[in-house]
Symmetry: C2
Subunit: 412 residues, 2 copies
């Protein structure tokens, strides 16, 4: 693909977004409906390929929250280096923002680019930046630390590895091509320079574009459709539940969101021993299509009051879908946008696989925390999963023209 | 996608193969030229999607050798369980063949299928089986062990981990969808039952279909085009170099091939410090398009005699492409069909990433071994790579109607 074609594609895409008066979401939808033809391809169809879909770096929200699930993802947390403070953080966020913008446009990272993404377009690449609670201590910005970043409570099912949890800075990278994602990861690591060092790093994946004709609700490694009750942008209170509204205590977070990140190991050897009917009762949904056990399709509401011939509820009292249902949690809502992970065989001989759970919300105290508290008490799924790592990050709004990510925090 | 559509697709595909009088290769080509449209899709285009491309299980050669690179791969080696011998191996190969055939057709693995591949088609899934040298001891078949399976010589740059090397049995799984590949891996593990246990397991990836409009010569994580000199099926001696001809010492290997598997760690922190011009001189090819430094395009021959204004060879004496060139190795040829790997950050803080090198040949003593011996002595690339694991497996020909893989070995 020539740079010129790419530039044209980007302008078209940006035009689409502008016309929709929207954020990256409209773009993502355009990308999702794209057609792809391998091999030689008339130049005019370049826009439509998996590779040439570009997501804009600038906007009300950062990219990587509202876009469709991507085939490949990397999560990486950094700690500021000893001695580094606010000044180094400013320079780092400037460098990271500049490289993210170039990469998301399908351009090289800079001189000496590794070349790993050559041949491919941006492939829906997104690079998303967040700040952990410790970042505010390190940079002398404690007064600007949002109460939403207070540590998550401990849950009885937590088996957290501190070395793979939290961190001063968090970067989420997603793309529909694994080499494009890896290229971005290396570029982000390189730009960290002496200012920050990697604390932990995780890899994940989702279905490839085109592997299914179904709309892409994720299926997880337990074989369950996962995300059916995700709030939808068309719902009237979507914005205020997922993104921080203007006029709050921390103006720099306007348009931002809080990401709860959990490495949830699935105990697949145990899970797969359950017959599918038992699995469906654990979840409360059909395995085939994600429909509630009370019938309908994937998007039908669960009929939580319905009882079967035996007088018991059709959706069992401890079913995961019942306990986590928004109706059962005062409307608590979070936008889950996960990656599956599979890191081979664990030290105990079982698959080191599961879900890199990433949930977005305007306030984790009214999103992840109440739902997880409830799941922690009585979820039938608990014996089959283990939370192994945890992070909570403040992800500021998207950068405006000429801004870098986090500028409103660091330079206010 | 309905099962019916899939069946029709398969028949069409099988028809294509029959017409070409060929093996999976024709199929792969058909798949590669397919067009993909996400979202709602007229039934007639199902054949053309990334998901619905099926590779036949039966044929002259096993699948997974001649097919185009797949976006996701798993390599897994098993050792027969203590006490298991030929009888258990026969039953295992029957079970594995049956499940591989079902999965490659996009069908469930069997009752109690995990459901992880639901919604997706077969997505070019291939499952390939091989036997390590130790398999013949375990099954009392030493007389049928090919001389080609003699242990590979030690190389000075080897840093091999025995626990991640060799094994009685080897399975290569590839697919264009990560969940389809994972689903197959779990099914293969489950069918191993009490007969065999996992010795090692590795995950890899290649570019996603549609991420590039270029023909899919792989680009590796060093950013180099990798595989330009791969022998092509159109070359007159391709078959005899890659596949075992009829009439050899071990008739059960007719149509088979030997796989050399090396986990090659790339020392990316060191490599990426080299300026791109230096990298190009290490390789002997341009980074942008893989063309030789003596000019032309990716498929042009290297002009090994050409000297520059300084009187030195344009392709340096120790350049990787010179040392590994078939002309420099008595025509030694192997078909390299790798996956990249990235397992996060290694214990030493550097990226645990590189190449799952998989090379196919009729005889490793006239393929991998002489080339690697030569590279071992003077390859400019050596300081930047480390061979961390090694395997050599006899991969029998594809199963005929009613046969299981390896039947001609186990029941002759």
């Amino acid at each position: 693909m020539s740079t010129e074609n790419l530039d044209i594609s980007r302008r078209k895409l940006l035009g689409t977004v502008g016309a929709a008066g929207a954020t990256g979401l409209a773009l993502g939808a355009a990308g999702g409906a794209a057609a792809y033809a391998a091999g030689s391809q008339p130049a005019g169809t370049a826009l439509a390929s998996v590779g040439s879909t570009a997501v804009p770096f600038r906007g009300t929200h950062q990219a990587g929250i509202l876009q469709p699930l991507q085939a490949r993802g990397h999560l990486v947390a950094f700690d500021l280096a000893p001695g580094a403070g606010r000044k180094e953080a400013v320079a780092l966020m400037r460098r990271w923002s500049a490289v993210a913008e170039r990469l998301m446009a399908g351009e090289p990272a800079g001189p000496g680019d590794t070349g790993v993404a050559l041949d491919a377009g941006p492939s829906s690449l997104t690079v998303t930046f967040g700040f952990g609670a410790s970042f505010f201590d390190r940079t002398g910005l404690v007064a600007r630390r949002p109460a939403e970043l207070d540590p998550l409570p401990a849950f009885s099912s937590d088996r957290l590895d501190a070395g793979r949890s939290n961190g001063d800075l968090w970067v989420q990278i997603g793309a529909d091509d694994a080499l494009v994602a890896f290229h971005a990861l290396r570029a982000v690591q390189k730009e960290a320079g002496a200012a920050a060092r990697v604390r932990w790093q995780m890899n994940g994946f989702n279905r490839s574009p085109g592997a299914t004709a179904r709309p892409m609700t994720a299926r997880n490694l337990m074989g369950q459709v996962d995300g059916s009750r995700n709030p939808k942008p068309s719902e009237p209170d979507f914005q205020k539940r997922i993104f921080v509204a203007a006029g709050g205590d921390q103006p720099w977070m306007t348009g931002g969101s809080y990401a709860v990140v959990r490495r949830i190991r699935m105990l697949l050897d145990d899970w797969e021993k359950l017959p599918p009917e038992r699995q469906e009762r654990v979840i409360g949904r059909r395995k085939s299509d994600g429909a509630p056990l009370t019938g309908g399709g994937e998007t039908s509401e669960l009929d939580l009051d319905r009882t079967g011939p035996d007088g018991k509820p059709v959706v069992p009292a401890d079913a995961h879908a019942r306990i986590s249902a928004p109706e059962q949690n005062g409307g608590a809502a979070m936008l889950r946008r996960p990656f599956s992970f599979h890191d081979g065989i664990g030290a105990d001989g079982t698959p080191d696989a599961g879900l890199l759970f990433i949930a977005w919300q305007a306030d984790p105290r009214r999103g992840f925390v109440p739902v997880q508290r409830k799941l922690d008490r009585g979820d039938a799924l608990s014996p089959f999963i283990r939370h192994e790592a945890s992070g909570l990050f403040a992800v500021p709004g998207g950068p405006g023209a000429g801004e870098y990510v986090g500028q409103r925090l660091l330079e206010a």
